[in-house]
Symmetry: C2
Subunit: 120 residues, 2 copies
């Protein structure tokens, strides 16, 4: 049995942006913390839904046909296969929940692709 | 695509204790809110891990060999098959994350068994 996880403590362990860190796993689902600021890449995940839960700050998820604004205490489920682009004007702390193996840039790849399955 | 979910708003919609309400689903994983106070039943879930994430207040998860105290901003993964008993001295707001179909009292049943798959 792993130890309990304190989100603020885990966020204090890294500064990189757009680089999700795994903090827990339930069955094959991973819980990842990420700090974001600025614009990410348009991408989608063909095989899975993805959850964004904002822990502190504000962010925007752009879709091709709408924009969703999220603040601390709010969450959103991005359906599989749907193109999206996360954005945050100032730094925002987010928990991402998705199956293990999911790469942050999905089908798009590129410079913002982070190493996967990095635990802290 | 479902609307975004505001946790505080969803918590304001119900008062019952020990009665998880589904607020979101990612693939076959459900996100449930529950208000707890007092002692729950010893039970386990034979087929799945289960995540407790404390949103406000404090709670305790008793295991046969140890006790884990959780406060707001902390989470814990209960491994499948492991007996546990949640407890909260004063009301505590919790998010439970687990596959759809999981019953709150697991293998134990009894009076605290809540209706499953109730969305708010």
């Amino acid at each position: 049995m792993r130890a309990k996880v304190n989100l603020a403590e885990k966020f204090s362990l890294f500064d990189e942006l757009w680089s999700p860190k795994v903090i827990a796993q339930m069955n094959h689902v991973q819980f990842k913390l990420v700090k974001i600021q600025g614009e990410f890449t348009w991408h989608s995940h063909e095989d899975t839904d993805e959850v964004f839960m904002v822990i502190s700050g504000d962010m925007v998820i752009e879709f091709r046909d709408k924009t969703v604004e999220l603040s601390a205490g709010e969450m959103f489920v991005i359906p599989k296969g749907v193109e999206h682009k996360p954005y945050a004007e100032t730094q925002c702390q987010v928990m991402i929940i998705e199956p293990e193996g999911v790469v942050n840039t999905g089908d798009a790849g590129g410079a913002l692709t982070a190493e996967n399955d990095v635990w802290i």
